[in-house]
């Protein structure tokens, strides 16, 4: 490779050299060339200054009010989600247990038992109905993407 080609190659490596991202052999080649090449030395020096300036560049922080709002929504939704998972899985397990129990002990239910089954069935139906309504409303809510 002629000296101009080598010079161009080193120029292409200066940025990575500055960031200490070259192999040991590459870094050594760059170092030796830069010691003798004023253009590359100047370019390296300017890149270094540029890097320092960029690192120190002020960038605005997040607006506190909106961050607090987001934090609140995260802290509220985390336990809420867990609660829903627990309620749903508990309800499913309970209903399943009752169904299995009823099949194993097929007999006329006691009035108290019948009442309990009626209440549970009512709660489950109500739950399904509310969940279904919520889903339908959400699907057709034109403003759901509008932030409050």
């Amino acid at each position: 490779m002629n000296s101009s080609g080598f010079h161009n190659e080193v120029q292409g490596l200066l940025s990575a050299y500055l960031d200490d991202e070259l192999t040991q052999a590459e870094a050594q080649r760059v170092r030796i060339h830069v010691e003798d090449c004023r253009d590359c030395a100047r370019e390296l020096n300017e890149m270094s200054r540029l890097r320092t300036l960029t690192a120190a560049m002020p960038v605005p922080g997040p607006p506190d009010a909106r961050m607090d709002e987001l934090e609140r929504s995260l802290s509220v939704s985390a336990p809420r989600q867990t609660a829903w998972v627990l309620i749903c899985s508990g309800l499913i397990a309970w209903v399943g247990y009752l169904v299995v129990h009823a099949i194993r002990n097929l007999r006329m239910p006691e009035p108290g038992e019948a009442l309990l089954v009626a209440v549970i069935t009512g709660v489950v139906l109500l739950f399904i109905s509310v969940a279904r309504q919520r889903m339908l409303e959400y699907r057709h809510d034109r403003y759901r993407r509008v932030k409050r």
Binding site: G12, L14, S15, A16, D19, E21, E43, E46, M47, R49, L50, R51, L53, T54, A55, A56, M57, P58, V59, P60, G61, P62, P63, R66, M67, L70, E71, L74, S75, S77, A78
Partner: protein, 180 residues
């Protein structure tokens, strides 16, 4: 309000053991927002992207592998959201980056924060870099990530990242010569 760069997002392997996402939010919210701001150049978009990133983290929290670094994961999400946003606006013939660049040039990242002509000038020049170069440069110089980490965040090879940073610096050096 202001923060200098070079504060690397710390590894999140330990924090991930916690079941609560709020401490992670506390730890990374500032950096995530600032990266969102740097890639969009717009405070409202930055806030929207930050919010979406943390909501996604919240949804995915239980499914993320134990050794997953929440900081990088969030940066990746923000970066992908920014790309989506840009595509969406481009398809509607709104060029988000150009609009925001004008915004940055007239007002800086935030007028009150930009007393310094040099910083304002530098930011204006960074803002007009092609987005892949801009994000690679900022992830390296401002956020202090290594090339391998940047490659992971932006989904490119280390070699590509190396050239993006090199091209970005070369372009900036030409435009900022009289300040260097």
């Amino acid at each position: 309000m202001m923060a200098a760069g070079q504060a690397v997002i710390e590894t999140g392997a330990e924090e991930h053991k916690s079941s609560d996402v709020v401490p992670v939010f506390e730890k990374h919210r500032r950096k995530v927002y600032q990266f969102a701001y740097q890639v969009t150049g717009n405070m409202d978009d930055a806030m929207d992207l930050t919010q979406e990133a943390f909501l996604r983290l919240h949804r995915e929290w239980g499914r993320l592998p134990g050794d997953c670094d929440a900081g990088w994961w969030l940066l990746k999400v923000v970066r992908n959201l920014a790309v989506d946003l840009h595509r969406k606006r481009s398809s509607r013939r709104e060029c988000a980056v150009e609009t925001d660049v004008t915004d940055v040039r007239t007002r800086g990242p935030e007028t009150t924060a930009m007393h310094n002509e040099l910083s304002a000038r530098l930011w204006a020049e960074i803002a007009v870099l092609p987005p892949p170069q801009r994000e690679a440069l900022l992830l390296r110089d401002w956020h202090g990530l290594s090339y391998a980490q940047i490659a992971d965040v932006v989904g490119a090879t280390i070699s590509t990242v190396t050239w993006r940073i090199h091209d970005a610096r070369t372009a900036l050096r030409k435009k900022m010569t009289r300040y260097l």
